[in-house]
Amino acid sequence: MSRKLKVKIICLIAVAAISMAAMGILLSSMQNELSLDGYTTEMKQEADALEGLLSVADEGVAQSTVTYDEIYQSKAESVAFMANNDAGFEPTDAKMVEYQDLLGVDNVVVVSRDGAILAKARDTLANFSFSRFNQLRTVFADGEPSEAVEIELPEQDWLFRYYAARIDDGSMVVIEQNPDELRQLVADTGSIESVLKDIAIGQHGYLFAVSAQDYVIAYHPNADLVGADALDAGIDAVDLEDGNLAWMKLAGESLYCEVSKIGDMYYVAAVPESDMATTRNITVGVILFIFFAVMCVVIMYGIFVMREDEREGRSPEDYCTMGPLRYNKAIGRKAAVLSLVGFIGILGVSFYMQTLFALSSESVANNERAAEAVETIQRADERMTALQDQYSERYLSKARVAGYILDHNPALANRDDLQRLADTLMIQYLFTFDGNGVMTATNSSYANFTMSEDPESQSFEFRKLLQGADSVVQEAQPDEISGQLRQYIGVPLHAESGEVDGAVQIGIRPTRLEKLLETVTVDSVLNGVKVGADGFAFAVNKEDDTFVSFPDQRLVGKNALEHGMTENQFKDGYCDYVTVEGVTYYASSAETDDYYLYIAGTEGELMAERVPLTMATGGVAFVCLAAIFLLLAFEPRRSVTVAKGVGAEERDARMIDVKMPSGRTAKTESAASRWLDRSFKWSEKTAEQKTATVVRWLVGVSVIAVFAAVVFQDRIFGQGSLFSYILGGNWERGLNIFAFTACIMFVCVALTVVTIVHKLLNLLSSVLGARGETVCRLLGSFIKYATIIGMVYYCLMLVGVDTTTLLASAGILSIAISFGAKELVSDILSGLFIIFEGEFRVGDIIKVGDWRGTVVEIGVRTTKVQDGSQNIKVIRNSDISNVINMTKETSYASCDVGIEYGESLERVENILSKELPNIRKRLPAIIDGPFYKGVVELGDNSVTIRIVVQCAEPDRLQLERDLNREMKLIFDKYDISIPFPQVVVNQPVEFKKATAREKRSADRFNAEQKAAAKELGNDEDDETR
């Protein structure tokens, strides 16, 4: 290798290295920046929305607390009502126990103004004389029930809320109640967790909360971290500033965070770096690899050609001078083509990777979100039932109190007292009925009402009370007139003797329940689902295909099919594009008992990153490839390649030149060598072959890389990664990027496995005998076809072709084939086999039947062969059988000549030995020879001798003709006669007839002979005769 070449190679490698580095840095920083940008916008939106969400939650907590307190205040109030309305009240412990049961509270205590306990249902830890309970004493001032006083001392197992109502100026009734239920409600609806747990950022991003007071983590999706010290877990206190965007470390995980401080809490929106890194690394890695491969191929090719040139010299017409530089046309053209194809490849791969990962991350995120939404809805359903039960129970308790009071003082059943009682119980209406179901009193405006006898009617149910039912609780249902939610509950009334003699019914308008129920409807649950910058959730009713929830309220209740959705999108786990009202979203679905939920995002957001990244990649690739191209194709003028002697090194004869249909001469491997499992020596290869080898290595590396990634996906990428998403096959079957990718992955795996098996078989065959080798080759070929068929079948399945119907229709297909398409199909199949088996290639000289020519084109149905007279024969592939591939290093032309038997063979041989060298001189197409091959045949009329010459296959026919001519001339010159058929003409002869005696003697002779040789020679055509 010359110094010049070495310098050039070093330059090329340097350029390649710099390009790789530049590309790597550019890509990863761009990708990072783009995804950070995306996340930042998303985080900002979440942070903006958070304050509202938190205040809504706080409001909810406040309202829940008020509602809760009201219930117990009303209970206290109802005890006071009983005391003041002659309903059997007496300040004894036994009575208090009765009230405790009736009201369903933890304790009922009657307390004097100074805090002394006058009566109690059970012991209490509270000392009501402390000023701590001054709040309760406000009842003496205004007569209204007091606000709650809560004492929480976990050390003493003391958690109670206290409610008081005034009995008289000297005493009050205090209800002691454990507020667990309230706490639970607050935790479910108003806690930080309840707000933050539904917020997701990107794929695995989340919000966590850190106390601004002591840096304790107040909420984190990972429950283990809740209560841990944030600083200890790795967060820097400096970063915790409102509005700060920073990289933080939490429990060993690197997070991209945005902090917002609301109240005494830092809310940190966090996206794990690994979330970005996996996507980024794979995308950048694949693009870089392709870029590397393209550069590698172009550079290697250039180097190989230049080395070859150095060895063999290159004709001057390959160069053209341009100013101080010389342009190497041969390298230039090929390098340009390779670069162009590579460049387009890089663009394609880059765009493909961006699309793939954008879509798959979106899919994974959407699927997770959908699953969560389903869970939330299920929880909401449970919660709805629980809420209804809870409220029914509460109202039943009120009804019981009303019943208890009216039982003890039936005189209260008048409009005014009932109104007071209703106020005390904080309910809207009270109705009392007599034993016949006729209304006796009410505080409402309905008068003259009788419980219906019609089973269909709403009030019919309450008749049960008169027949002894303990209570009737109707579910809250919308009022027929106003549509407001209203609930009726009834309990029986008793006469003094204890018999049922009527009923009391309460009518409530459960506004709080109504509100709570609203918060757990599908609509509100889905409204709370936040997905990306402009993602949202919607639901379709399973039964009638109508939208149950959609951000655009106008669509709610409309039929989804009429607004762009299709039937196949109504299923669990759908994950593809969905069009609604002309807008296309990328959506994932999940199924609940009643609905199909969709998590959707617009594509714009999804794909926005693709174009700039692809452009940037393309730009860098273009510059780098241009630089490499210039380096390869141009060289300083003064440096002249020294042409060394041709053939200084003998080329392996396995490579030969063929003339391609385009008129270009290209190198090809001789037919015989193609099926040898023996590789070329590196030095024997042409530049093209070396490049092809490099390409093969690169492809091999990538195939094996994909194989490894597929096989070890869990270990490399972890669960729930994009990779496992693609492999998991939860995407829609059809012509989409996932199917395409899965096809590539599958093919890579199959190829790797098949190659390994092939290598093993080769190894095996090398140690086995001839029979073993045959079997191995057969097996290898079988595996190859099985794999190809399997791959085609599987890939068809992946892109959504229904392969079972394909198989089933094969029967019908075969009938169709047998009718007419048979020929066509067999042509196509034969064509495929020709290509797969590599029977011949374009440029090869083949002989099919007695037709000999150069292959111009191998088509799907026909093969075109050009014969010596430039005629094109179009042969149907199915007719191509018994092919002789004559593409070989050298062919030979032979010439058989007959000599007369009378001629002296030795004399002829002497003449030939003298003349053969002269033939060679006259016929330049002869590569070697002519050789005298001896006597071929002692024929009927002549002794045939054979002369052969070595020549190139294309020259063979002409050479044979030339050889014949030469032989004739030589024989003429030396008066050697070549025998030819001669006709001898004879005069006709008169034949004599046999006499009668002779005839008789002949018959006799025949008979004698037959008898004598009866046992002999009876076989027809006896060979032994």
Partner: protein
């Protein structure tokens, strides 16, 4: 002229003395107890129950807070290789420092004259008001409402004497104790009752329970025990200045004072305070 020369000489002499004093300061920092400072551990008494100042996270076993950061920074400025924290309680901190169980106190320890007799104090790194916390449900929203009620303070802190002084000053009480228990943990004044409790935790519990009607404590500590059901009265018992306490005239006193002063001067303390706010 001579007078002028004499003055110059005097100035020079003063400067020299100052320089020497500085040198001495340096020397004292690098000899005596501190010679081996590089390998030694500074034992610091800190609080374990005051969120934002000195708080022990039970799960991690580590201390967090402003005072912890100050102690660590101080130790590194003094050249100590390591800091060992020990939890001190208001009633034990005095003895622990006296006995040399700890080298210094960074434990919400306010600089008071009575304490300066026993200990050396650095400059104040934090100023805090001691306040009165009441339960909302007691309907007390003024000190006057607390007449006849019970105040609680922390035993060992100087809040109790200050409270009595302040209440006397404001005319709330005559300041005379009518009766007192042996250890002064339960004193009956003319218009109020004062009890002292062993820990802030206990104080907070007593307040929750209603055994005391008002809890008096430092503002920084009160923060830990505040909830939406409690409020701080608009009444400042006293302003406390927290300083780092060391044994009287110990070798550590001056370096500690200098280190704290240095941290005040270069804004370290301000930054740390901001961090924990």
């Amino acid at each position: 002229m001579a007078a002028k020369g004499g003055r110059v000489a005097l100035v020079a002499a003063l400067a020299l003395v100052c320089a020497l004093a500085g040198l001495v300061g340096c020397a004292s920092a690098s000899d005596g107890n501190l010679v081996a400072a590089g390998e030694r551990t500074l034992r610091v008494g800190v609080r374990s129950d005051v969120v934002g100042f000195g708080y022990l996270n039970e799960t991690t076993g580590k201390y967090y807070g402003l005072e912890i950061d100050i102690a660590e920074e101080m130790a590194s400025r003094l050249g100590f290789s390591d800091v060992e924290f020990a939890t001190v309680l208001p009633e034990t901190r005095k003895d622990m420092l006296m006995n040399g169980e700890i080298d210094c106190l960074v434990a919400c320890y306010s600089i008071a004259e009575s304490r300066q007799k026993n200990f050396d104090f650095s400059a104040a790194y934090y100023a805090d008001n001691s306040v009165i916390v009441v339960e909302n449900s007691s309907l007390v929203d003024d000190v006057e409402d607390l007449k006849g009620l019970t105040f609680g303070t922390m035993a060992g802190s100087n809040t109790a004497p200050q409270l009595v002084i302040k209440l006397t000053e404001s005319g709330f009480t005559s300041g005379e104790a009518l009766s007192a228990s042996e250890d002064n943990s339960d004193v009956q004044f003319d218009t109020f009752h004062l009890v002292q409790m062993a820990s802030y935790q206990e104080l907070a519990q007593a307040l929750e329970e209603g055994r005391i009607d008002a809890a008096c404590m430092d503002g920084s500590i009160a923060k830990t025990y505040m909830s939406s059901d409690r409020s701080i009265l608009d009444f400042t018992i006293d302003t406390q200045k927290y300083g780092v306490a060391t044994q009287k005239d110990s070798a550590l006193s001056q370096p500690v004072a200098e280190a704290v002063q240095g941290m005040l001067d270069d804004g370290t303390i301000a930054r740390l305070t901001d961090k924990w706010n």
